[in-house]
Symmetry: C2
Subunit: 366 residues, 2 copies
């Protein structure tokens, strides 16, 4: 059997090209009610049946843990897999010390890498997960992340009961979680000792979509001090990752059908265009932002768009992967964006730097 690990290549500054695609065998998304009232309504796997999005729990933090637990369950179910088939989890969230992930995932008893990349965590978890699979360290892993509007407001901003006004350039944290089952091309052929994994994976995009490379992000700090202005804080990191990806892979923007950032929103999107223009890169005709896809910014009271770790994750699961599976897009650059701060750093007057991790996802010929 061909050993794909021998053909993985380290490219340029911070990219890796895989010898064989890492298959995205399936994914599961779970969201709150407001997310399902947006343009993607009806395409999520599970929606809260409670207007406060408590998911049956008695605190917002536990509700976010329930989101992650449910996202894993849905993904296992859709791919006919069991927890024992998953060798490693790569997961993180926005809450301090990753408690949404820890308490949401521990019952699965799957070895865990805890990650923190703020709202770029979906990109970080897909990167490290696919790197592990491509290296042959695991046949199957799961990458996931989450955010919850109420737990994020409590963690970063004001208590909801305070009823503070949000500036028009602020974004709205998505309540949602999505998980992705990554698998090596050779794994389906092997038997899995001690497990009963079936070969009849039933996800819509089974074996049709794969990760072919990644570009690891670095911290960019443009001196933004306003923690509501996440879009501008993260745009420089997105610009660096996109420019580095194009250079490392020696590609032009038109070689991607879409370049999709995580949660820059309308204000950050313009900043991104301006920064890339300085590098003579124009992606305006193929740029999308998950924060602008998930909500109707004119009809829903979200101001600049959606944000949060869950934003890019649920949009990837419910919108981007299906478009790739249908062949509407052949190759996309998925770039979740994160703002690196906490309430202490903000209150002590520190800047809000950003980071963005790039993942190349392609439709595969059958």
């Amino acid at each position: 059997m061909e050993n794909s690990a021998t053909k993985n290549r380290a490219l340029g500054t911070s990219s890796i090209a895989y010898g064989s695609p890492v298959l995205i065998m399936g994914s599961g998304s779970v969201v709150g009610q407001m997310e399902n009232e947006g343009p993607l309504g009806g395409s999520f796997d599970k929606v809260s049946d409670d207007k406060n999005d408590m998911f049956g729990e008695d605190s917002w933090e536990k509700a976010e843990s329930a989101l992650q637990k449910e996202a894993v369950a849905v993904t296992l179910s859709k791919t006919c897999a069991e927890a024992g088939d998953i060798r490693f989890l790569f997961a993180g969230d926005l809450l301090g010390q990753n408690i949404a992930s820890s308490f949401g995932l521990m019952d699965y008893n799957i070895p865990l890498f805890g990650l923190y990349g703020a709202c770029s965590t979906c990109g970080e978890s897909l990167s490290l997960g696919s790197m592990s699979v491509a290296a042959g360290y695991a046949d199957r892993v799961m990458s996931l992340t989450s955010s919850h509007f109420a737990s994020a407001q409590k963690e970063f901003r004001y208590p909801l009961e305070y009823g503070g006004q949000r500036p028009l350039y602020a974004s709205w944290t998505v309540t949602g979680s999505a998980a992705f089952l990554l698998q090596s091309t050779s794994a389906a052929k092997k038997s899995v000792s001690g497990s009963t994994i079936k070969n009849n994976y039933e996800a819509d995009y089974q074996k049709k979509v794969g990760i072919t490379g990644v570009t690891v992000g670095r911290i960019e700090d443009y001196g933004i001090k306003d923690s509501f202005n996440m879009g501008c804080a993260m745009a420089p990191a997105a610009a660096w990752t996109i420019a580095t990806n194009l250079k490392d892979f020696d590609r032009k923007p038109h070689e991607y059908d879409a370049i999709i950032t995580g949660d820059l929103g309308s204000v950050g999107q313009q900043a991104l265009f301006n920064l890339l223009a300085q590098e003579k890169i124009d992606i305006r005709d193929r740029h999308y932002d998950c924060g602008l896809i998930i909500y109707d910014t004119e009809k829903q009271d979200v101001h600049a768009g959606g944000s949060g770790c869950g934003c890019s994750a649920v949009v990837l699961s419910a919108h981007i992967l299906p478009r790739l599976a249908k062949g509407e897009w052949r190759r996309v650059l998925f770039v979740p964006t994160g703002a690196l701060l906490n309430k202490t750093s903000f209150n002590e007057g520190q800047n809000v730097p950003g980071i963005a991790h790039g993942v190349v996802i392609e439709a595969l010929d059958q």
Copy 2:
């Protein structure tokens, strides 16, 4: 040239054995004054010259960032490397949203994977760092972590000014940071494009010590609710990782010269022995705990021992690696241990589960 990536093997439940060792080319440790007054005094690379361990900063969080920045600088200096020679950083800390790492590392402009494994982060960062090098994704990476007594007390417990008493089974958070430069065996032979890396690495243990495998930890929850009783909260995770490592690698305890946990302290150590006894595993004659190595628990007012991400990191750098380089130990299992909680989860009555990541480190024949 031999491609080591072809010989990496996924073993058992959650272990990986590398085809070629990932070299630990050098490391740097920076600590506070109290750490230097303990049994390892004099063996750290840098010590605070200020009794409050502020490292020239005006807040504890910034002081912890300064620790990380300095640990990288010392490690680069000891290995005659430059920031541009390091392809990826794998870093994390105990503060919410990893701010010590973000603000400490951003000036180096090195692509970053942010990690969170509580006090097991040193094991997680060495695992993911060595996995990336062994897979050929990078010639050189750096793994690092930190903790600071005062920032940790503020984050997890009580304000220092409150002057609360600590129970005798509580541990004392180490003020310290250590960084490790990992390199592939083939990298020294290659030229590094666009950089001036020298071949005269001068670290004491250059090319003498390497990582030969890892065992990824999973969350174990034994229902501990007292956040001061970290040792007992983490012992089950350490027991799982040690037992799994022995099984996955098909080794007996005596095939390790030392099995070294991160920060169980005196109380957690006894719990670990009891748990392993149930599995008929006896490591009592070769078990060490970094939390018991770093302080003199009889003379220093630390109660059960040291803890914090920095505890296992600085002990690895200042004590364990030198013993391996000198040949006093040939093979050790290094198992940093973490307690997964934050102040919200604790105040909402959640348990304190643990996680521990195992790293096999060996003396190499020259």
